[in-house]
Subunit: 269 residues, 6 copies
Amino acid sequence: MNAPVHAKLASQLPFYQPVADECTVFETAWRQQLPVLIKGPTGCGKTRFVAHMAAKLGLPLFTVSCHDDLSAADLVGRHLIAGGDTRWCDGPLTRAVREGGICYLDEVVEARKDTTVVLHPLTDDRRILPIERTGEELQAPPGFMLVVSYNPGYQHVLKTLKPSTRQRFVALSFDFPLPEVERAVVQHEGGVDERLAAQLVTLAGQIRRLTGYDLDEAVSTRLLVYCAKLIASGMAVRLACRTALVEPLSDEADTLAALMAVVDTQFGH
Amino acid sequence: MNAPVHAKLASQLPFYQPVADECTVFETAWRQQLPVLIKGPTGCGKTRFVAHMAAKLGLPLFTVSCHDDLSAADLVGRHLIAGGDTRWCDGPLTRAVREGGICYLDEVVEARKDTTVVLHPLTDDRRILPIERTGEELQAPPGFMLVVSYNPGYQHVLKTLKPSTRQRFVALSFDFPLPEVERAVVQHEGGVDERLAAQLVTLAGQIRRLTGYDLDEAVSTRLLVYCAKLIASGMAVRLACRTALVEPLSDEADTLAALMAVVDTQFGH
Amino acid sequence: MNAPVHAKLASQLPFYQPVADECTVFETAWRQQLPVLIKGPTGCGKTRFVAHMAAKLGLPLFTVSCHDDLSAADLVGRHLIAGGDTRWCDGPLTRAVREGGICYLDEVVEARKDTTVVLHPLTDDRRILPIERTGEELQAPPGFMLVVSYNPGYQHVLKTLKPSTRQRFVALSFDFPLPEVERAVVQHEGGVDERLAAQLVTLAGQIRRLTGYDLDEAVSTRLLVYCAKLIASGMAVRLACRTALVEPLSDEADTLAALMAVVDTQFGH
Amino acid sequence: MNAPVHAKLASQLPFYQPVADECTVFETAWRQQLPVLIKGPTGCGKTRFVAHMAAKLGLPLFTVSCHDDLSAADLVGRHLIAGGDTRWCDGPLTRAVREGGICYLDEVVEARKDTTVVLHPLTDDRRILPIERTGEELQAPPGFMLVVSYNPGYQHVLKTLKPSTRQRFVALSFDFPLPEVERAVVQHEGGVDERLAAQLVTLAGQIRRLTGYDLDEAVSTRLLVYCAKLIASGMAVRLACRTALVEPLSDEADTLAALMAVVDTQFGH
Amino acid sequence: MNAPVHAKLASQLPFYQPVADECTVFETAWRQQLPVLIKGPTGCGKTRFVAHMAAKLGLPLFTVSCHDDLSAADLVGRHLIAGGDTRWCDGPLTRAVREGGICYLDEVVEARKDTTVVLHPLTDDRRILPIERTGEELQAPPGFMLVVSYNPGYQHVLKTLKPSTRQRFVALSFDFPLPEVERAVVQHEGGVDERLAAQLVTLAGQIRRLTGYDLDEAVSTRLLVYCAKLIASGMAVRLACRTALVEPLSDEADTLAALMAVVDTQFGH
Amino acid sequence: MNAPVHAKLASQLPFYQPVADECTVFETAWRQQLPVLIKGPTGCGKTRFVAHMAAKLGLPLFTVSCHDDLSAADLVGRHLIAGGDTRWCDGPLTRAVREGGICYLDEVVEARKDTTVVLHPLTDDRRILPIERTGEELQAPPGFMLVVSYNPGYQHVLKTLKPSTRQRFVALSFDFPLPEVERAVVQHEGGVDERLAAQLVTLAGQIRRLTGYDLDEAVSTRLLVYCAKLIASGMAVRLACRTALVEPLSDEADTLAALMAVVDTQFGH
């Protein structure tokens, strides 16, 4: 128990293709002990970027996928009963503070409000984590960094970050990578040649420019990699595109037909 | 305890009549370690298809019917108290990961949000399942596959799959089978002769084309099989159709009358 | 404990006056191992019919009145602590499966969604009941039958049976019995002579045809029997009608006056 | 423990002034083993009437004031832990069934739905109370009677009795008593002379006929008795009327002034 | 434990300046064993009045501030586990009944519905408190009195006292005291001279007559006392008025400016 | 356990630059034993001010960040089970009362209603804290002070302070500091020279005057300090402004472009 949950030491550096100056900004914020907010669409590489930076800076990384039922105790820790005895068990936030690592809250707007309030004393100049249940008050070491992310393009009627939380972070805005960058990612991760990777990235650009259809979100780099993998394993290109790029985006017959038309334009028919 | 809950080893291959290339797509996705999303109407054979593929690939299958109150602990596991002692009890998702089988979440949009978030680290390139309560982090073996399904035709105002979840899957779209396929299913499962099975499938097609009536969903292949069984056991055709094909579809007098008119056109009166 | 809760063996056959071919349909569905959905208004005899059929087929009957707070555990069972020890206690659904009897869920639309999902593996060709808490998976014996009922005339804004649940059943539609049948019931159960029973049934027909008044539901056969009992014990006819047929139907002065006018037309004044 | 909670044996007969044939109807329903629903405004004597009838019939009376958080266990009973031991403790409904008395649910529409469903098997011809937690099934003795009441004049947007519950009862409608009856009650309970009691009843009639003002409910007989008591103990009539008849009815200045004008007209100024 | 919680014996009489005949009405209601409802704006002295009357009548006083999460058990009592043993612990209502004192529920409309239903058997002629968990039924002694209060001027969309609860009380309406009374209170409690107290009361009157501004509630006597205390300790009059009379009333710039203009008119500038 | 949670003794005085007479008002309120309400926008220095005053007055400070799930027990304390034994554990409010310090509730409008009701007996002339679970009633010593804060500019549809709570406090209104004050803060905390600090403050003023854009809240002094820190550690001014002043304020492309235009006007391009 208390074994490494989400923590990964930087034994090897995860592949990450920088887009702009995001690595510099992240590292400067870390050196200045400022918390970072990352904004960007689904599947554009936010999680991969944080893993890359943690490895580069040699810091343990504790990742938490936020959701409606995530409570403050899930972050900070709780008493567990084991063998008739009660033992305190640190949560991922507490472990990141103790070990001086990065705590990364993915999709932070999904979390309950009481969860985000726990972050306040860690995000001003005090940099403390009070643990009310044990009476401890941890002073975060210089290495500790708090990173949160969310997707501004996906509208949440009731879920936003309160200004009083939001103004505690410096912010980085991510978008889909530039074509040459995305091509390199698809080629490297999907196991296809440069030409097919370029064709898939061109196709993605055409789909992302489609307007007037009921698309909650445009096709992600992750789906491009999925598509490349299917093709690399022998599936016909058109079927792979339908399976990995078209069907995951919509349930509307009109939208699906429009997306397949774009596919057929790109790859002939 | 910890006995096989939903798991069935592939001792015999469940009957499944392929419609298109769904078996190839499923198997390719499994080999490429990609999760699969199956979309399709009620009773069109999604569950049967997954059972068939699990048997064909020789994988244990863990099926979970999702609902409002399904929590992450129901999937991952929980500590149970037995005889004054606390023991950890794996949930179906954890068991599928440990045993390298298929975990199938039926009607995944019905589940609570915190349930779907648990799936995220299993559906990107990490393929891990962190079990926070025990401090374990399971690395999914190559055989493990996650499959989810839902019915896009039945509208849920508040229940949709978040794009950040949805874009983690390759997707297959199911529909009612082609007439010759459906006829074979009705004949095989319902125990009637080819001619009656063909008549029932024709009738189903006519009902499915009915518009302007308050029908939440069209008649399913399952109901056709029910109807065939009632006729095979000696019930009059018209009564069997009313009982198995008409009354289950609606409570509105007008709709019921219109449906019976279709029945009477098909089978004389 | 674990004593028969709702289960009644068919020592004597409860009185039931068939209306159409509902007994045949029910018995055929039972022989074909198909689940049955019964639709019909309040007090028309659905519960009595199921009790009659259970007795006729020699099956134990487990009745559950569904409501908002009925959980899956209420159906399947739970661990109870008794004398410092934990014992598993089967719920009525599990008992019906183990003993090969009928489990009857009355007003099933009132139940929570997670309750109805528990029924799914019992209503397709698998006919299994997984009990996650104990790790058991019960295979339903041939005698087991699932019966559910609800009242389509009473509108529930938020409560309907999901198509994916509904299409798992063959369905029977009940209505108030034909006059001669209802007269026999009122005479037999209410203890009045044939003429008075006939007059009460005529009155009920007139009330059921009243339109333009705020009546949630028409007068039931059960209320006719109540009225007959009050008269049989010496109460004046008009007072008995007001007490058993009029006041239970509405709180609106206009509606009550209209109903009493119908009474006075039938029985003079 | 398990001592008489709400139960009162009929050692003395509580004062009750009959209005019409309500005593006869109640007694007939009891002899015929039919449940009774009492409708009527606040403070018109419903609770007193039931107490009177219980005493007259020599039955123990178990009264439950219903509310939002009343659960089925509050009626049926629960296991309590005492001295390290678990003991079953009957609720008031179970005690009424065991002892063959009256269980009276006051303001039944306020109760949660799962509470009213518990009443169903007791209100049809089975007259049983299944206690799922202990595995018992009680057969109600002939003396047992279920009585429920509510106030149809006070509008509940979300709270009504379901038709399937409502049609299980014969019903009695109460209103404020006739002037001569109400005068006798005020004189007897309030300790004033006949003339003053008559004046108060006349005043109540005038207030009850006030229309066009924001009055949720008219003045009750109970408030008339309060007013009489204040006068009997020496308070000035006008101040007593303001305190007991006017201020309890409204918070609106216009309404209060209109009510005081009625008081001043009756008692001079 | 079970030490006096809110109970204060009347060792000294708290200062209270009567406004009208409220002391007489309260005492008469207490002698007649009638419960009292006090209506009035925030900070007008309701709590002080009840404390004064309890001391004058020599009764212990149990005060409960009501809120959304106040449950019936908070009033009646609960079993607590201490040292491995379970002990019953009376709540403030039960203690008031046992000791024959006053139980005062402040802002009773804020309480949950099940809380107010607990009061019903104590507020009719039975005057009993059934304690279901222990099986006790307490008969309230003559000294016991129930007092509830609320603020009719502050609108609650969903929170009102049900007529069936409200009509169980005689009612007293409070308002801000007359100028000469309020002046005496401000002088006595705030520690300022008569002239300044009179000026503050005049200012309060002007603020209370302000219309057309977004003021939830007018300035209370309590805030006047606060202002007097700040001035008495040396703060400039204008700053004291801004701090104690203006800023607590609103957050709107226009309203604050209008209030300060009234201050400057009264005290020059 | 029971170790200092949020309490900090005034070993060193935190830097605070007074804006007006807020220090005098605070100290006078503390000497007069009056509770204080602080209103003001996010990041304007409310928390820092309270820390400064606590240190100046030599009082321990207990800070609580309020949120939706903060219960009264979180403030007052609870019984914890440790080593099989139950021990009472004071909450921060109780500790502040016992030790005669300041209890500061940050963003008090976010707390549940039952939390604020707990404060009532501490905020009138009684100055008591009843602890119902232990039967204690604490009399607050002269040093104890209650301070609450909230942000009136950020609109809460459902969350406001009830007038009955609000009128228990004297109130201080904070705004962003005057330019010369803010410049000193940015220079001191951000580690930049006077000229750059002045430029950043001028820029903040321009951003705060922007109207017609979707800005929930204007840029705070805290973000200015963040920006200064990034520049001081070598980041280009424009990138630092984008990271610390622009991206944290909005997700709208139009708004972000308008903000960057203001940045470019200030710092050339």
